[in-house]
Amino acid sequence: MPARSDTATLPAAAGGGGLRLRWPLRRLLLKGTGDAQSESGLKRAHFRDWRLPFWLLAPQLFILLLFFFIPSIRALIQAFQLTDPFGATTQWVGFQNFERLFRSSVYWSSAQVTLIFTIAQNVLTLSLALLLAFASNHILRGRGAYRTVLLLPYAIAPAIAGIMLAFLFNPRVGPVAHMLQGLGFDWDPNRNSWHALALIVMAASWKHICYNYIFLVAALLSVPQSILESAYLDGAGPIQRFLRISLPMITPTLFFLIVINFVYGLFETFAIVDATTRGGPAGATSILVYKVYQDGFVTLDLGSSAAQSVVLMALALFLTFAQFRFVERRVNYSV
């Protein structure tokens, strides 16, 4: 138990609201997997009356109701309807929207793109953030300044980040694109699908590295100095200490970040895609969440958009479940 609360307070102290969901979810999912050392000691003792916890939870629940449950239910209903954008005519069409979706080759290629995109984005974000966290922990002079600079991109709006990157990498006018072309690399995201995909992976990662970085810096700081020092005395170099000691000890944070990065890649990247490539060329960067946005808000195909968001919601639930169920087994929680 103490080990757990230790890892729990660490990212939470670093400012993550995302953690709130984590523990109840973990309890729920891990029930009966053998890992469930009893945690009932904490639960009931603190609140004798139901009213106080209810009022403490109420604001958050209200927000969830307003911004999550009601829209989700509406999406669920709309997924089975064909409707005029203005709401003049509505027909119940059963599973027609879903059938259409799964028959559509465009949707499957979008799913494929999404898979590549989320994995690439996750790997790139996490490894760069890890590298930066490792490096900035080893720098003594001006460490604060480095950290501040590294955190800045998080404050930039996704649309601005996207447009900036689109401009920098524009094969006609972008300075970075000209540099690449000068090096003999035929860079053209307007005509090459892989270049376009690389561009949105870069844009999405760049925006999210800082988030990963904050958590990793905090996690690395929590690695007990005594163990590192004893390894040092045994002759382990900084890289070895990092790989053999720090890295295994921060696996809970890494795991948490992997989940968060997947959720980010799946759900929060449509603004970046919209600003960077608009899903093009020829749908090469039209990831699932961008399609939900495009079909719902640009082309007003509300039924299909709703069906897509239901599929995406199910996918996210499944992924999170799978990650907690299978990946977390390998995570070392005890220090």
């Binding site: 689109a166 990498f169 524009n170 006018v173 020829a282 640009v298």
Partner: protein, 437 residues
Amino acid sequence: MRPFYGVLAGAGAMLLAGMSSAQAATEIEFWHAMSGALGERVDEVVKRFNDSQKDYVVKAIAKGNYDEVLNGTIAAYRAKRQPEIVQSNERSFLTMVNSGAIVSTAELMEQQGLPVDTSKFIAPVVSYFAINGKLQAMPFNSSTPILFYNRDHFKAAGFEKPGATWQELEPQLDAIKAKGVSKCAMVLPGDYEWSFLENYSAVNDIPYATKRNGMDGLDTNFVFNKGKLVGQVERMKRLVSSGVMQLAGQGIIPIQLFTSGECSTIIASTASHAAVVAAAKFDWSATELPYEQGVTPRNSVIGGAALWTLKGHTPEKYKAVAAFYDFLAKTDTQVWWHQATGYVPVTTAAYDAAKAQGYYQKNPTREIAVVQLMRGTPSDNSLGFRIGNSNQINVAIMEEVSAAFLGKKPVQQALDDAVSRGNEALRRYEQLNAGKK
């Protein structure tokens, strides 16, 4: 106590005064999609109307691009907070007509005793926005694509001007690139579905969809995967893959590549005049859309937007709307709007007035779009397009055609796929709107 009551009475008087002055003029909201210089022109035309009389005040509010305005309108309508007037592009015609949310312009104007005489309007404008001769929306900013070109580049490559047909123009573009005059002989516009496909089919008089491009019913089918249109996409693909025609991509607007002098030509809306005049530092000109050799070119079709009147307002508000539309259709307003924005005048009277002023002698390129729109009598293929779910279809067609450009699919297959995706969306529209226009 006295001073307090005094203040209260004063405040009350001020409140009453404020109310009575507000009551004197009926205020209506007008949501539009014009930004930059065009947004300023909209504010100007609204100000002119507000200054011209004392009974009504129009409040123009920019709500983003066309998609955003439409989305905002839908959200507002569903929340019963819709504005009186909303600007929506030509593509959304059926969406708006069948929304159940609008009052047709013809009906509104008749009720207010200011009937619109559609015979005074330019034909392709009326055929687009009217059903059985009844205007559904008030034509506002109408445009059509024309070919802008860099005269310096053409001269440097040894040409006087662009050829009238594609067969003449293509070798010229190739030569501009081959001679090293410019690395980019043409830039593909963002709305090429409109300028390169729809307008191509109108000008060359070939069907795009059955039932007179949807004018005769919702059971229309796309047929652009045969004949000349396949050749047109093949041509575009060849131009793109040989590097003669460049794609602007994200981060820059295609017209900027023309005005910066980087690209030699662009087929763009005549409303681009504003951008070209403001930014082009070279000898530029414009000409009519190229067509296929051996064809007598027909009129091109319009783009741009019209003003839609939304349901659910009081008679006084509609009176104000009608007065505003009446003002917009006035020849003076039209002439001013045409000259200030580059959009075409929507009435023949306004065109004649601009001509009489000698405007086209000084600005010959401003006349191209009008002449091109008024060329001949519109045929079944050049009346315009009445396509349901058109936003969806537009995206699908662009996606497929660009897949052909990238070499992901052969042109024929891309067009077949575009047609089948388009038809699927048409059938869905038919299913939902069975029995409507």
